[in-house]
Chain length 265, copies 2
DNA sequence: ACCTGAACACCGTTCAAGT
DNA sequence: ACCTGAACACCGTTCAAGT
């Protein structure tokens, strides 16, 4: 029984990673590539998204995805580089139609539409909310149509040069920021030990140390970030989001005015 | 050799979780509690933060933390409920002094200060950026002093009732949103395969399908969210952040004006 | 009250081998 | 080109036992 476990050998030199596998990064998608196998990246990502939607991000794994697809776990690695690649792929197809068929109208209305659509789409896949910031901070795989809409709208608002780049970043951050925070779910159920503790801390605010907070405690409790114990699906912050959109548009308009006046003088 | 592996028994009824351990959630911190042990939550969180800063969030684990503390892995579980608890604790102490010693001044200036401080603090612990949205969406463990400052500033700006709650959420989302997105790191090194692919896609933008995007391609490349292949530490978006702050303040001012006018009539 | 040893039940990933 | 079997090297977490 001493020699029956060759596993768990403690020391091995980690061999250098082998030459890149096919679908390592990006999707060349030459559109002429055979895709003869029964699997294929698209089917894998769809299944991954369905599984994440059903069970959450933490419970999602390659082994579960493999059984879902009726395939050996290792098979997935022929099409995809890593687990991270999978959630990124799932996020990509989930957000694919945010930019579809933008309605005509003022630049303000079009930017409002982008924000509202993003939030609505993320609400259909709330378990992906934690992945948005991680995966979307830098990458260009998201449909370029979305960026085109944003840039075109900001051009119309007279942004140009560095000011345009800045405005683009402001809009993208606004698009992601609120919904991501709103939908990041609580660790446990409605009245878990965690929820109770959170609630108790809010209710135990000291009016001496935090007078302003204490004054509005009852309105803020469970309705403000950092002071709520219910997730964004059960307890949406609708009016807060509308205020967010309003502040963004108002701030952009003010900035656009300043820009125009500086240009005239 | 058949009977030598009692491990990996496939089917076991998952026993109900035992009665809550001491440091399960929140920190009662009666301040009279002995804290006689050599460990203690504070020391554990400090060590966790140091480890996350050094190695990143993905590489951080309980086993590594245990060896760092010169202790058995299981020892940590007497003080802390889970790995998630650890990163949350680390984030809490990392952000602890965002609200320390707020300078006097107009409400606009104070809100600007909150945003700038949050970003500066997160830049000192960039590996925690992905955890911000996940852990900060709902919880009240963050120093209430921060919320007090925000609420007090917005009161001064004449927000009240639901409009105040909305404004608080707007400010908190703004505080977290930009910096989180900016600092979420690229999966790999500067010119990895991933970076190359990202760059290629940006440079391959089709001027026929995306005319506005193509017009500003050179300025946007590697300087805008979704179009950059360098992380926020090496490649900060300083002017974008200032625009963000500017838009927020401008938008809040406009909303405040509307509120006042409605109240006068 | 606090910590150790040792195991349990998983992971993601690799790699030779199949077809 | 695409997939399987089987293993490797880890995980987080639990639990009886120590002190």
């Amino acid at each position: 029984m001493l020699m029956s476990q060759p596993r768990h050998t403690p020391i091995t030199t980690p061999q250098a990673p082998p030459a890149a596998r096919p679908g390592k990064v990006g999707r060349p998608r030459k559109s002429a590539l055979p895709e003869t196998g029964a699997l294929g990246r698209e089917r894998i990502f769809q299944a991954a998204l369905a599984l994440i939607d059903a069970q959450g991000l933490a419970a999602f794994g390659i082994r579960g995805l493999a059984t879902q697809l009726g395939v050996a776990p290792a098979a997935i690695y022929w099409h995809v580089a890593s687990r991270e690649d999978l959630v990124y792929g799932a996020l990509s197809i989930a957000l694919a139609d945010v930019a579809q068929a933008m309605p005509p109208g003022s630049w303000q209305l079009r930017i409002q539409t982008v924000l509202r659509r993003f939030r609505a789409t993320l609400r259909q896949h709330p378990h992906l909310a934690p992945a948005v910031a991680n995966e979307l901070g830098c990458n260009a795989t998201l449909d370029t149509a979305l960026m085109e809409h944003i840039v075109a709208a900001l051009e119309e608002a007279h942004f140009d040069g560095q000011a345009l780049v800045d405005a683009v970043n402001v809009v993208v951050a606004a698009m992601c920021g609120f919904a991501t925070l709103e939908l990041s779910t609580a660790p446990a159920g409605p009245d878990s030990a965690w929820g109770q503790a959170c609630r108790a801390q809010v209710e135990g605010i000291d009016p001496a140390r935090c007078p302003a907070l204490a004054r509005h405690q009852s309105e803020l409790a469970n309705h403000a970030f950092l002071m709520r114990w219910t997730g964004g699906m059960d307890n949406p912050l609708d009016t807060g989001f509308e205020a967010w959109v309003d502040v963004l548009i108002g701030g952009l308009e003010a900035r656009s005015r300043v820009l125009l006046e500086a240009r005239e003088s």
